[in-house]
C-alpha cells in the first residue's frame, strides 16, 4: 500500500491543481472502459495457510464484480478474470489479499491469520472507517473478546477490557447488567450511562446475547460521539451484530454448562460467642426485658413455636440433637440453642447452562446470519433465577448492482425470579442472630425477626416475584447507489419492550391477606432515518466522504399496575381471586427526538486526516425556549509514519498517528416533562382523589452541554507490529449541568431541575498490546490498559455567604463546609467522622470532647449525661473547632468511585491450546460500610455481629491491641461509635480481580473432520475468581456508602465448561 502511494506521488505533479482532478476522472473512466473490454483469462492456484496447508472454502472474487468462487478441500481454485482485474482472496479470521491479474495464469497466495490490522474497518456512528484513518478515540472490541466469557451479559463481559471505561458489577442478580461509565461520565446528578446503539438503533443492552455480537465499538471522545448529539455526553457504545458472508453455510453450535458459587462471605461470630458476649451486654443496658422476654438472647418464652431458639435446659432434659449448649454468664444455668447461619443457607452452588446455535452463509443474492440462544442461570441466592431465549436474523438481499436491502429481526424473552427488596435479605435477613430458627419442627421455614428482617428462606417460601421482559426489534434498511458512490440509505426500526411483574405473598404470620400485584409495561420506539453518503475516493491524494442524515425517534411508554388482596387460597397467585383492589394505575408518556446531521471525512495522501461533524437535535423534553441545539465537532490526525523522513526508522516505528479532537455533546437525561412542572395525583383522601403540585416548572431548562478535547497517538513498534501502544489525554467540561437543586424547605418543594454550574473532567488512557513470543507453535500475547480520570467542580450558582457556593452538603456557621458539591472540590466524596483514637481509660474519657451524638448512659450510675464519653469509645477529630463534636466535625473520608481502572490479559497458545488469564483492577475508591457497622453496633437486638467484635475493647490497656470499640447493647441510642458514618468503617476498596481464566483446546482439524465436524473446541472458563482487596464485605465493586437497608445482590464466582462445534 505504502509503495503505491509513493509511486503516485512521483507521477503526479503537486502543482497541477484542478486540471489534475479532471485528468484523474478521465483516467478513471478510461480505466473502467479498458477493464470492461479486456480479455478474460482462466486463473488457477492454491490458497494456503501460513503453515502451508491448503485452505478450503476461502472466497476468491473478482474485485468490483459479483464473480467469485470458493477453494476446494485442498485449497485449490479456478476462476475466470479479465486482464488487469484484481482478485480478492478472503477467509473469515484471515487477512484478505488482493492480487492484480497481469499475464500469469497461476496465482498462489498464503493468507495470514488476521492480526488487529490497520485496514480493519471500525464502526463509527452512521458508517465505517478504516482503523488507520480514524482521528477520534474509538475502541473496538471483537467478538472473540466477549463470546466465551461465562456471563450472559454484554456489559459484564466488557469489564476491564476497554481503557477509560469503568465497568463495575454492582449486582449479582442473574440477568442484571453492570454499571458502565465512560471517561468518568459527564454529569453531577444525572445518569452517566452511555448511549447504546444496536445496529443503528438506540435500545437497552439488557438481554442481548453476547454471542450474537460481531463487534462493539466504544466511542469515547466528543469528536466521535458528537454525531449522536444530545444523548452523547456519556459516550456511545455501538453494538454490531453478526451478519452472513457469501459461501457455504457455517453451522455453529456451542454449549456451556457450569456452576456459580458465592464468593465472599461476611464472617460472623457463632451463636455461642454471641450469647456469651451479648447476654451480659443486655444485662448492663437499660432495656431489662431483653434477656427474658423473647429475642435472640432471651430465654423466656422461646418454645417450638417461636422464631428464636434460646432457652434454659430443663431439669433432666438431654440436649436436643443438633442443638448447642453453653453456660449462661448471667445466671450460671445451662443455655440450649440452635446455631443457624442464615447467610450459609441463603447462598448455594448454582448451575448455569447456555446453548447457542447459529447458521450463516449466503449466495450472490442473499446472505444470512441466524442465531438462537437459550440461557438458564440460577442465582447463588436461593430462589433466584434467570432464563433467557434469544433469536436473531440478519439477512441481506442484493436486489441488483445498485440496490440492496437488509432485514434485521431479533427477539428476546427473559424471565427473572428475584427478591422484591434485596437489601432486606442480603444485608439484613441473612444476618438474623444465629439463635434464629431456620425451620420449624413441621419443616416450614422460621419467619425471622419481623417482616423486614425476615428469614430469607421464609421470604423465598412465602413470596412469588417474577419479572419477564420481551424485547423485539424489527428493522429494514435499504441502500441505493443513485450514482456512483452516492448512496441513499433509508431505514426504519421498530422496537418494543414488554415488561411484566407479578408478585404474590402466600398466607403468612405477618400478613394473612395474600396481597397480589401485577404490572404490565409496554414501551415502543419508532425510528426513521435517512442517510445520504457520497464518497470521492482517491482523487489524486484527496479522499473525501460526505454524510448527511435525518433521524426521527419517537418513544411511547404505557405502564399499568394493579394491586389487590384477600385471596382465599395460596394456589392462585393472580389478582382474579383477590376481591379487594387497593391500587390501579396506568401512566402513559411519550417523547420525540428530531435530528439533522452531517459529517465530512477528509484524507490527504493517507497522511493528513480531518473530520468534521454537526448535529442539530430537537427534543420534546426541554423547555419551550430551548428545544433545539447544535453539536459540532472537529478532529485532525497526522500519520507521521507516512512522511518520508520517518522511513529511516521504519524498522523501529512501523506506524505512528497523532490525533487532536474537539467536540460538543449533550445530555438530555431529565424527566420527560420536568420543564413544564407537574400536578400529580396523590393518595386519595376520604375516598376522593387528590391532586398536588409535585414538580416545580422551569421553562428555561435546556441541554447539558459537554465540550471535550482529546489528544492522543497510536504507535506500532517494530516491523511485525508486535508492540502496539495507544495513548489519549482528554479534558472535558460540562456546562449548564442538569441538577436537581435543593430548594429551601419553606417552598414546599424538595428541589427543582435547573441548569447550573460546570464540572471539568480530565484523564488519560493508555493501552499496550504486545506479542511477546511467537515461535515453535507457541505464542504469548499481552494486552494491558490503564486509565485515570479525575474531576473538579468549576462553577455553581452564587450562594450568598456560602464558601465555594456549596450545595447539598453540611454548612458550618461561618459559611464553609464539607460534603455535597462545592466549587474547586472533587465530586463523589463520602463524608463522616474521623476517628482520632480509642479512649482507653477514665482519664482519657474525662478529657474527651463533648460529643453531641453520644447519649452518655453510664452503666454504673445508670444515668445518662448527654455528650459524655467512656473508655472503649472513639474520640473523634474536630473539624469545626468549637470544643465539641457535632455534625460540623465531619471530613471527606474517601471517594465513592475509583480514579484509576484497567486490565491485563495474557494469552498463551500452544498447538491449539489457548490459555487466557485476565485480571482487572480499580484504584481510588472507598466504601463506608454502614451495613457492617450496623451488625456490629446493634448486634444485641436482632442481628449477628461480624467477627470484628471478638477484638472489641474490653478493659484499659486494650487500645494497644485493637481499634474495635467496645460492645454496646444498642449503639445507635448509646455512643454511636459504630452507627454514624466514620473512618473506622471506611475501607479503601482498591481491588485486583482475577476476572477470567479460560483454557481452550482446538481439537486438530484432521481429527475433527474425521468425526464429521469442521471445528471442535472445548474449553473451561472461570469468572470473578478472586479479589485481592482490603475491603471485608461482599464485593469491592460497589463504592460509596452501604447501609443495612441498601445492600444489593452480591456478585459471585462462575466456572463453566464449554464445547463449540462447527458443522
Amino acid at each position: 500500500m505504502k509503495k503505491t502511494i509513493i509511486r503516485k506521488k512521483e507521477t503526479i505533479s503537486p502543482s497541477s491543481g484542478r486540471i489534475k482532478v479532471v485528468f484523474l476522472l478521465l483516467l478513471f473512466l478510461l480505466f473502467g472502459i479498458v477493464t470492461a473490454f479486456s480479455q478474460e483469462l482462466t486463473i488457477t492456484g492454491k490458497v494456503s495457510e501460513e503453515s502451508g496447508a491448503g485452505l478450503p472454502d476461502a472466497a476468491v472474487t473478482v474485485k468490483g464484480t459479483t464473480i467469485g468462487t470458493f477453494t476446494a478441500g485442498d485449497g485449490s481454485y479456478s476462476i475466470r478474470a479479465g486482464r488487469n482485474s484484481v482478485l480478492v482472496f478472503s477467509f473469515v479470521g484471515m487477512e484478505s489479499q488482493e492480487v492484480m491479474v497481469t499475464d500469469q495464469r497461476t496465482i498462489n497466495v498464503i493468507l495470514r491469520t488476521q492480526m488487529v490490522g490497520l485496514d480493519e474497518l471500525v464502526v463509527i456512528g452512521y458508517g465505517t472507517q478504516s482503523r488507520k484513518t480514524i482521528t477520534t478515540a474509538i475502541t473496538q472490541v471483537g467478538a472473540d473478546k466477549i463470546e466465551d466469557v461465562p456471563l450472559p451479559s454484554v456489559s459484564k463481559a466488557l469489564q476491564g477490557k476497554i481503557a477509560g471505561v469503568r465497568i463495575l458489577q454492582t449486582s449479582g442478580q442473574p440477568g442484571s447488567e453492570a454499571d458502565v461509565v465512560i471517561r468518568g461520565g459527564s454529569s453531577i446528578s444525572k445518569s452517566s450511562d452511555p448511549l447504546y446503539i444496536v445496529d443503528g438503533f438506540p435500545r437497552a443492552v439488557n438481554d442481548i446475547n453476547p454471542r450474537d455480537i460481531a463487534s462493539i465499538e466504544v466511542l469515547k471522545d466528543a469528536a466521535a460521539t458528537s454525531i449522536y448529539g444530545a444523548r452523547a455526553s456519556n459516550g456511545v457504545i455501538l453494538i454490531t451484530t453478526k451478519s452472513g458472508e457469501k459461501g457455504t453455510a457455517n453451522i455453529d453450535f456451542t454449549v456451556t454448562t457450569g456452576f456459580q458459587e458465592f464468593g465472599r462471605k461476611i464472617e460472623t461470630i457463632t451463636a455461642e460467642q454471641y450469647l456469651l458476649l451479648y447476654r451480659p451486654a443486655a444485662a448492663n443496658a437499660s432495656n431489662a426485658n431483653a434477656n427474658y422476654l423473647t429475642g435472640p438472647t432471651a430465654t423466656g418464652i422461646n418454645t417450638d413455636e417461636s422464631t428464636w431458639t434460646t432457652r434454659f435446659l430443663e431439669d433432666g432434659e438431654t440436649v436436643p440433637e443438633g442443638w448447642h449448649t453453653t453456660l449462661d454468664p448471667v445466671t450460671g444455668k445451662t443455655l440450649v440453642f440452635q446455631d443457624n447461619d442464615l447467610q450459609e443457607q441463603l447462598f448455594r452452588r448454582a448451575m448455569q447452562t447456555n446453548y447457542y446455535l447459529s447458521a450463516s452463509g449466503g449466495t450472490d443474492k442473499i446472505t444470512y446470519y441466524t442465531g438462537v440462544g437459550y440461557t438458564q442461570q440460577e442465582g447463588v441466592a436461593v430462589g433466584t433465577q434467570y432464563d433467557r431465549w434469544t433469536i436473531r436474523n440478519n439477512v441481506k438481499f442484493t436486489l441488483n448492482s445498485k440496490m440492496s436491502l437488509i432485514s434485521n429481526y431479533d427477539h428476546s424473552f427473559s424471565k427473572t425470579n428475584q427478591f422484591e427488596k434485596e437489601a432486606n435479605l442480603f444485608t439484613r435477613g441473612a444476618f438474623n442472630a444465629r439463635t434464629i430458627r431456620d425451620y420449624f419442627p413441621d419443616g416450614t421455614p422460621g419467619w425471622g425477626n419481623n417482616a423486614t428482617l425476615a428469614n430469607p428462606l421464609w421470604v423465598n417460601y412465602t413470596r412469588i416475584n417474577n419479572r419477564t421482559f420481551q424485547r423485539s426489534t424489527i428493522g429494514l434498511s435499504g441502500d441505493w447507489e443513485i450514482i456512483k458512490n452516492l448512496h441513499f440509505r433509508p431505514s426504519g426500526n421498530y422496537y418494543t419492550e414488554h415488561y411484566t411483574r407479578d408478585y404474590f405473598e402466600k398466607l403468612h404470620t405477618f400478613n394473612t391477606q395474600r396481597p397480589a400485584e401485577a404490572e404490565r409495561d409496554q414501551s415502543q420506539r419508532w425510528q426513521y432515518e435517512m442517510l445520504l453518503t457520497y464518497d470521492l475516493k482517491e482523487i489524486g491524494k484527496h479522499d473525501l466522504s460526505i454524510l448527511a442524515g435525518y433521524s426521527n425517534l419517537y418513544i411511547e411508554d404505557q405502564d399499568v399496575t394493579a394491586e389487590a388482596y384477600g385471596a382465599p387460597t395460596d394456589n392462585i397467585p393472580t389478582l382474579n381471586v383477590a376481591p379487594t383492589p387497593t391500587n390501579a394505575s396506568s401512566v402513559f408518556s411519550e417523547e420525540r427526538l428530531v435530528s439533522y446531521f452531517g459529517r465530512l471525512l477528509y484524507n490527504y495522501d493517507d497522511k493528513y486526516l480531518l473530520t468534521a461533524s454537526l448535529r442539530n437535535d430537537g427534543s420534546s423534553r426541554f423547555g419551550a425556549d430551548n428545544k433545539y441545539a447544535l453539536f459540532p465537532s472537529f478532529s485532525a490526525g497526522w500519520i507521521v509514519t507516512g512522511e518520508p523522513f520517518m522511513s529511516g526508522v521504519s524498522n523501529l516505528v512501523s506506524f505512528l498517528k497523532v490525533r487532536l479532537t474537539y467536540g460538543q455533546t449533550g445530555n438530555n437525561d431529565i424527566g420527560r416533562y420536568a420543564s413544564q412542572g407537574t400536578y400529580a395525583a396523590t393518595y386519595p383522601y376520604g375516598g376522593s382523589a387528590g391532586i398536588r403540585a409535585t414538580v416545580m416548572p422551569n421553562l428555561a431548562l435546556r441541554w447539558e452541554k459537554t465540550t471535550q478535547y482529546d489528544a492522543g497517538f497510536d504507535l506500532h513498534l517494530f516491523r511485525k507490529e508486535n508492540i502496539e501502544l495507544s495513548f489519549d489525554y482528554y479534558y472535558k467540561r460540562s456546562d449548564d449541568l442538569l441538577f436537581s437543586m435543593q430548594l429551601p424547605r419553606e417552598t414546599g418543594f424538595n428541589s427543582v431541575e435547573m441548569n447550573i454550574g460546570s464540572v471539568a473532567y480530565n484523564g488519560f488512557e493508555f493501552l499496550v498490546s504486545t506479542k511477546n513470543i511467537n515461535k515453535n507453535n507457541f505464542y504469548w500475547n499481552s494486552d494491558f490498559n490503564i486509565a485515570y480520570n479525575t474531576n473538579k467542580v468549576l462553577k455553581l450558582p452564587e450562594r450568598e455567604g456560602i464558601d465555594k457556593n456549596r450545595v447539598n452538603g453540611i454548612i458550618f456557621p461561618d459559611g464553609t463546609g464539607v460534603g455535597g458539591i462545592a466549587v474547586g472540590e472533587k465530586l463523589n466524596g463520602i463524608i463522616g467522622w474521623q476517628v482520632d483514637f480509642l479512649i482507653d481509660n477514665e482519664e482519657q474519657a474525662n478529657a474527651a470532647l463533648y460529643d453531641e451524638r453520644a447519649a452518655g448512659f453510664d452503666p454504673v450510675t445508670r444515668k445518662a449525661i448527654k455528650g459524655r464519653k467512656f473508655p472503649g469509645d472513639f474520640e473523634w477529630v474536630e473539624n469545626w473547632e468549637d470544643g465539641k463534636i457535632t455534625d460540623f466535625d465531619q471530613f471527606v473520608l474517601g471517594y465513592s468511585i475509583p480514579h484509576t481502572t484497567g486490565g491485563l490479559t495474557n494469552t498463551f497458545g500452544y498447538k491449539g491450546i489457548e490459555l487466557n488469564i485476565f485480571t482487572d483492577f480499580a484504584i481510588g475508591h472507598s466504601i463506608t460500610d454502614m451495613a457492617r457497622a450496623w451488625l456490629n453496633g446493634v448486634g444485641a437486638r436482632q442481628v449477628q455481629p461480624t467477627t470484628d467484635v471478638l477484638d472489641a475493647w474490653k478493659e484499659p490497656g486494650d487500645a494497644a491491641r485493637t481499634m474495635q470499640p467496645k460492645i454496646l447493647y444498642h449503639d445507635p441510642s448509646a455512643q454511636q461509635n459504630h452507627t454514624r458514618n466514620n473512618s473506622y468503617y471506611t475501607y479503601r476498596a482498591d481491588f485486583l480481580c482475577i476476572r477470567e481464566i479460560s483454557l481452550g483446546y482446538n481439537i486438530p482439524e484432521k481429527i475433527a473432520n474425521k468425526i464429521g465436524f469442521k471445528r471442535l473446541k472445548t474449553y473451561v472458563a472461570g469468572n470473578n475468581l478472586h479479589y485481592f482487596t482490603k475491603y471485608p464485605g461482599y464485593s469491592p465493586e460497589v463504592g460509596g456508602e452501604i447501609r443495612h437497608n441498601s445492600g444489593s445482590y452480591p456478585t459471585f464466582r462462575t466456572v463453566v465448561f464449554g464445547l463449540n462445534i462447527g458443522l
Binding site: I482, T582, K627, R672, Y683, G690, R745, R941
Partner: protein, 493 residues
C-alpha cells in the same frame, strides 16, 4: 441527474410526510402547571390533595407525636431495642440534627394552601357555596400549620404566596412570631366564616365550622396564656367554644367507642386513614401511628396471642413509667385506663404491655392500622370551655364543664368539688387532659400552655434558663439552614 431528483423527492417526501416533527408534547398522565387551575374539578382535586398532604404531614414519621407529645417524657421505647434519636426528644436534649426538627412537611402543606388561596378565587364555580368551602378548608389548614409552627419554633418565615417559578423569592428569613399570629388570626377568622357547619358522625375528617372554632379556641387560649394576650383573647376563645357546644356532638358513654368507631359523634375533627388509600400491603406507611404501638408477634407468648393485640410490625413506642405510674388510676376507678394502657404478666417473667388506643382492625387475621387520628373530640370542647371560663374567673362554670368529662371517666357526679381554687381547677383541667388525650399528640403543648413545663416534665426540672431560655422551642434542623442560610437557628441551639 434524474435519479438525484427522484432521490431528493423521495427524501423530502418521507421527511415531511412519514415523520411527525412536533416537539411540544404535553404529559398524558399528569397535568402541567400551566394547564391546571381551570375548572371547579381542579379546585376539588387540589382540596383533597391538600388533605392528603395534611395526613402525610402529621403521620409520616409519626410527627404528631414527635412534635406534640414526646417532649413531655411520657414516652419510651417499646420491646424493640432502639430509641435512637427519640431519646433526645423525651430527654429534651435536642439539637439541630434531631429527628423531627425539620419543618419541611408543614411548609409543604402551606404551599398547597397558598396555591388554592391564589387560584380558586379566579375559577368560576357553578356552586358559590362550594367555592367558599374550598377556601375555608385552605384557610383552616394554613391556620393550623402556621399555629403549630409558631408554637413549636417561635419566629418563622412567613410565606403566603404559592411557589411556581424559580424567579420568585425562594429565600425567606424568620419573622417575629407576633407577625405569624396576626396571619393565624386572619386565617382562622376566614375559616370560621367560610366553612359549613358539621353534622356529627358525618365526615368528621373534613374540617367544619366547629373544627375551625375548636382550632380558634386553642389559638386564642394560647395567645392569652403564652403570647401576652388578655381578656380580649379569652373572650374570642369563649365565643368560639360556645359555638362548638351549640352543635350536637356527644360524649360517648363508653370512652373506647370514641376510638373504635371512626364516625363516632364525639369526633369533631379527625384525619382520615383507609387501607384502600395506601397501596402498601403491609399498611406500614398509612398507619404508622398505631403500627408503632402494637406488640410484635415474636414478643407475645403463644398462650397470650389471642389476648394481646399483635402484628408483624415492631412495637417501637410505648408510654413510659413516668406517665403510667403518675397518671393512670386503677381501671376500676377510671374507665379510660384500660383503653389507654394494658399491661399483663408474661408467664415466663416480665410483662407484656402496650398502648391500647389505635389498635387498628383485624381483617382475616391481619391487623391493619388505619384508625383515623383524632384531632378534636367533644371531650376537648368541654375541657376547652372549662379552661376558658376558669381563665375568665368563672370557676363554677369551669368546674361544671370539667365534671362532664370526669363523670364519663369515673362515673361519679361532681367529681371535682366547687371548693377548688382557680389554680386547683387549672391543675385538674391539665391532669384530665393528660389522661383523656393520652397518646393523642396533645401533652407537650398542653403542659406549656398551662405554664407547667418545668414542674411536670421530669427532664425539664430546673432547666428554665437552658438554651438561652428557649428550651421549650424546637431547634431548626441543619438541613433547613443549609438550604436557606437566611434562616437563623433558634438562639441557644
Amino acid at each position: 441527474m434524474k435519479k438525484i431528483i427522484i432521490a431528493l423527492i423521495i427524501l423530502l417526501a418521507s421527511i415531511s410526510y412519514a415523520c411527525e416533527n412536533n416537539l411540544d408534547l404535553a404529559p398524558i398522565s399528569s397535568i402541567t402547571t400551566s394547564s391546571f387551575w381551570k375548572t371547579e374539578d381542579d379546585a376539588e382535586g387540589a382540596l383533597y390533595g391538600m388533605y392528603s398532604q395534611f395526613r402525610a404531614t402529621l403521620n409520616s414519621n409519626e410527627n404528631i407525636l414527635y412534635w406534640m407529645d414526646f417532649r413531655s417524657g411520657f414516652w419510651t421505647i417499646g420491646t424493640s431495642g432502639g430509641a435512637g434519636d427519640n431519646e433526645k426528644l423525651w430527654q429534651n436534649n435536642m439539637d439541630a440534627t434531631t429527628t423531627s426538627t425539620n419543618w419541611s412537611s408543614l411548609y409543604t402543606l402551606i404551599n398547597d394552601c397558598n396555591l388554592i388561596l391564589k387560584y380558586v378565587p379566579e375559577i368560576t364555580f357553578s356552586n358559590q357555596n362550594f367555592k367558599d368551602e374550598v377556601m375555608g378548608h385552605a384557610y383552616f389548614v394554613r391556620a393550623y400549620a402556621y399555629f403549630k409552627l409558631a408554637q413549636l419554633w417561635g419566629d418563622l418565615p412567613i410565606v403566603t404566596e404559592g411557589f411556581e417559578s424559580i424567579t420568585q423569592e425562594l429565600y425567606n428569613s424568620r419573622s417575629p412570631v407576633a407577625e405569624v399570629y396576626v396571619l393565624v388570626k386572619e386565617d382562622i377568622a376566614q375559616a370560621v366564616a367560610k366553612l359549613p357547619g358539621s353534622s356529627p358522625g358525618v365526615k368528621p375528617w373534613m374540617a367544619s365550622k366547629e373544627a375551625a372554632n375548636m382550632l380558634k379556641t386553642e389559638i386564642y387560649l394560647w395567645l392569652a396564656k403564652r403570647a401576652a394576650g388578655g381578656n380580649a383573647e379569652l373572650t374570642e376563645a369563649r365565643n368560639a367554644i360556645d359555638a362548638v357546644l351549640l352543635n350536637s356532638f356527644i360524649l360517648e358513654n363508653n370512652y373506647a367507642d370514641a376510638f373504635r368507631n371512626d364516625k363516632s359523634k364525639e369526633i369533631i375533627f379527625s384525619i382520615y386513614f383507609d387501607y384502600s388509600e395506601e397501596p402498601n400491603p403491609t399498611g406500614r406507611d398509612i398507619g404508622q401511628y398505631g403500627w408503632n404501638f402494637v406488640n410484635n408477634i415474636n414478643y407475645v407468648p403463644a398462650s397470650l396471642r389471642d389476648i394481646v393485640p399483635n402484628s408483624g410490625s415492631t412495637q417501637w413506642l410505648t408510654l413510659s413509667t413516668d406517665y403510667t405510674l403518675r397518671f393512670l388510676k386503677p381501671e376500676s376507678e377510671d374507665q379510660r385506663t384500660a383503653v389507654n394502657w394494658q399491661e399483663i404478666p408474661n408467664p415466663s417473667g416480665g410483662t407484656v404491655k402496650w398502648i391500647n388506643k389505635y389498635l387498628g382492625t383485624l381483617i382475616e387475621g391481619t391487623r391493619r392500622f388505619y384508625d383515623d387520628i383524632r384531632i378534636y373530640r367533644q371531650a376537648e370542647a368541654y375541657l376547652f370551655k372549662a379552661e376558658v371560663e376558669n381563665a375568665l374567673d368563672n370557676k363554677d362554670v369551669a368546674i361544671a364543664n370539667l365534671n362532664i368529662v370526669a363523670k364519663r371517666a369515673y362515673g361519679i357526679d361532681d367529681y371535682y368539688p366547687l371548693t377548688l381554687s382557680k389554680a386547683e381547677v387549672d391543675e385538674a383541667i391539665l391532669e384530665e387532659r393528660l389522661i383523656e388525650f393520652a397518646a393523642e399528640g396533645k401533652s407537650w403543648l398542653d403542659i406549656i400552655r398551662f405554664g407547667k413545663a418545668f414542674e411536670i416534665i421530669t427532664s425539664l426540672v430546673g432547666r428554665e434558663g437552658d438554651n438561652q431560655g428557649n428550651i421549650l422551642l424546637f431547634p431548626v434542623n441543619q438541613d433547613v439552614i443549609s438550604r436557606n442560610t437566611k434562616i437563623i437557628q433558634t438562639p441557644g441551639y
